[in-house]
């Protein structure tokens, strides 16, 4: 293959990646901007929003980071909360082990950038034979992160310029989690774990600790989940019968 031909193929591969990732672009830029505007309310320079998009690169995680910063959460609480919030990525990764042809730095980058949306593109895009899967995987990850970083930066920069009141904008965070809860319910179709968490969350808030609510309720919920699991070892009815008692 001449170098000219190979350049041409690479160009059309870029176009293919761009087209495949368009829906993610339409999601990431507005959502990144919402994060940026929210972040700018904390009063930091916009460059930190860019840095968060570059290094953390996690939608819900970054929104939650703003909430945790605003509530002056401790570093340990931040670590555990973000780790568990993003723990769903572990289950994506497990299903991709052995399916990433890239090596070295590209492989590491792809693992670093494995967001919900990238995962869904990687697992659901049908590749024409002239697109190299390794190149596709790497570029989809890269393009998606570029959209995200653009959104975060634009939002934080605009947020600093906006003159009308943004009071109340922090509600994007609970609204996002409400939406994600409904999406989880659509997948699971069982009310019990949702009710369990609701009860534990409210009880923790009312009677145990307001300041450490998140950490304590996460640990309580995990303990209860593991006890249920141990008590009725892998019986699919375990959780629903537990809550109806």
């Amino acid at each position: 293959m001449s170098s000219e031909e190979s350049t041409q193929i690479s160009h059309s591969a870029n176009r293919f990646v761009f087209q495949a990732s368009l829906p993610v672009m339409f999601g990431y830029i507005p959502l990144g901007m919402a994060f940026g505007v929210l972040f700018s309310d904390l009063g930091y320079h916009w460059i930190f929003a860019t840095l968060m998009g570059v290094f953390i690169f996690a939608g819900a995680g970054q929104f939650l980071a703003v909430g945790l910063l605003a509530n002056s959460a401790g570093l340990m609480e931040m670590f555990i909360t973000i780790f568990l919030l993003n723990s769903r990525h572990m289950f994506y990764g497990i299903s991709l082990v052995g399916k990433i042809p890239n090596k070295g730095a590209k492989r590491l980058y792809q693992i670093f950038g494995l967001t919900d949306e990238t995962y869904s593109l990687l697992t659901s895009t049908r590749l024409p034979e002239w697109v190299d899967p390794a190149e596709f995987q790497f570029k989809v990850t890269l393009f998606n992160q570029i959209y995200w970083v653009i959104g975060c930066t634009l939002g934080a920069w605009l947020g600093g310029q906006i003159t009308f009141s943004t009071a109340g904008i922090e509600f994007v965070l609970p609204a996002l989690f409400m939406v994600l809860t409904l999406e989880q319910y659509k997948n699971l179709k069982k009310p019990a774990p949702f009710l369990l968490a609701l009860v534990i969350g409210i009880v923790t808030l009312l009677f145990i600790s307001r300041d450490q609510m998140l950490l304590i309720s996460i640990l309580l919920s995990m303990s209860v989940l593991l006890m249920i699991h141990a008590g009725k070892r892998w019986n699919p009815q375990a959780i629903s019968s537990q809550s109806s008692q």
Partner: protein, 108 residues
């Protein structure tokens, strides 16, 4: 607002926590991927986390008074919009817009 040094530390901690969730399967977890505890947590932990984060909204509200009603109402609106239009941006922007209007009218 804390110092920039503090923010760098926070970003480093969050980067580490996020990266850890993404790299663990490739270096460790794939060996025990079908362990029953991991399968169980993989199924039930995400919904539990989401609900706890919704409840976290009320951290700074007095649940004994009526101060939490605007949040509750706007969460209900977000959910209703999501069930109607099934579009995350519509639900999030609708709920947030309503909450901002309430806050700025002095309701919350």
């Amino acid at each position: 607002m804390e110092s920039a040094g503090y923010l760098f530390t926070v970003i480093a901690v969050m980067t580490a926590a996020t990266f850890l969730t993404r790299v663990l399967p490739f270096v460790l977890l794939y060996k025990v991927a079908d362990h029953h505890i991991l399968v169980f947590l993989g199924k039930y932990l995400p919904p539990v986390m989401m609900v706890l984060l919704v409840v976290y909204t009320f951290k700074n509200e007095d649940l004994a008074s009526t101060g939490f009603l605007p949040e509750l109402g706007c969460l209900a609106l977000t959910a209703a919009l999501h069930l109607m239009f099934k579009h995350p941006l519509v639900s999030i922007l609708g709920g947030t817009g309503a909450y901002m209007a309430l806050v700025q009218m002095g309701v919350s």
